[in-house]
Symmetry: C2
Subunit: 201 residues, 2 copies
């Protein structure tokens, strides 16, 4: 804004809201006005919820999930099959897979992918803690659910190599046509993978 039209506290709030992913400078102003209008129903509760999350949030020392308890809700859930570990790059991937609800397993969050150009080596990821979890025994399958990118696949290869001496089955996600996807919008790599992995009806 060229000139000040509101108090510094509100401008500060707009600046901070603009840093939230999904909001830009313009929508941050809109969001701030909405919060001001919904002072009791939204602004107060959101302020408290942020404060509480700020105080309590921690990273699970076992799997790398974020939670307010350590070990986290997933690691302590005895209705899950804790002998299957789904390895993901990021907490967002863990939450996405849980939304699908297809598996009832444990997780391990790597915290990224190997990327020598960016200076990310094996020691920067939670790979050692994964090897340790498997070495302790009781794990029968590791599902590598990393992104289908070059870095993701390189990371998957590295982990497979490190786990090769341990008695655990290692699998990866299937490649193929996304459900609802249209063939003529898909790249050649995906189509080739889908053809190669075709299934009998």
């Amino acid at each position: 804004m060229a000139k000040r039209v509101t108090g510094p506290e509100i401008e500060k709030l707009i600046q901070l809201l603009a840093k939230v992913p999904g909001l830009g400078p313009r929508s941050a102003r809109r969001a701030a006005l909405h919060l001001i209008k919904k002072r009791e129903q939204l602004m107060g509760p959101l302020s408290l919820a942020l404060g509480e999350a700020y105080d309590k949030v921690k990273v699970c020392s076992r799997c790398g999930n974020v939670d307010t308890s350590d070990p986290c809700t997933v690691c302590t859930d005895d209705r899950r099959d804790q002998s299957v570990i789904i390895v993901v790059e990021d907490v967002a991937d863990l939450w996405a897979l849980e939304r699908a609800g297809a598996m009832n397993a444990a997780y391990h969050v790597l915290g990224g992918t190997l990327s020598p150009l960016d200076g990310v080596g094996p020691d920067d990821l939670n790979i050692k803690s994964l090897i340790d979890r498997v070495s302790e025994g009781g794990i029968r399958e590791i599902i590598l659910a990393v992104n289908a990118t070059v870095e993701g696949q390189a990371t998957a290869h590295f982990i497979t190599d490190r786990l090769s001496d341990l008695p655990v089955k290692i699998t990866r996600l299937a490649h193929g046509v996304p459900v609802g996807g249209e063939l003529d919008y898909l790249d050649e790599g995906t189509l080739t993978a889908a053809l190669r992995a075709r299934t009998t009806l």
Copy 2:
């Protein structure tokens, strides 16, 4: 989420973030994870800023702007021409006009438009306080910067009528082609207005 994968405090935060305009359920999760990752740089400051805004925000009793002081920053700015009042529907419109920076005037926020079907009558808007401001004297122009909708124009007519006995010039925003707009995407009403209000080069 089908099963709980994180603590109730974090799920509560996601639920509240999803109510912020510009964020939906999916982007609220992404926003929450980003806030958790940027705990010190963003989550803490945002929590404090929301709390402070919650405590201090008020509506200006003179013009209806939101601020942390009353009268607000705009009403107390003696570098503005306080004899010109731009009448807007909403605080968002005030802020939008200030971003344009074309005028250095005072404002009056109506808080909506007349809408008999929704039960919004003259007493539900800040119209009386506008008449009072003009009646006190010292105002030479009222610029009706309401939306170019049926409700906005009806509200403008109503205000013009109420102000007709007072010695004040009443103007409205020009209609025409938006700057950067392409003619073949514009509606007939806009094109007609732009032709009628054509200017000599």
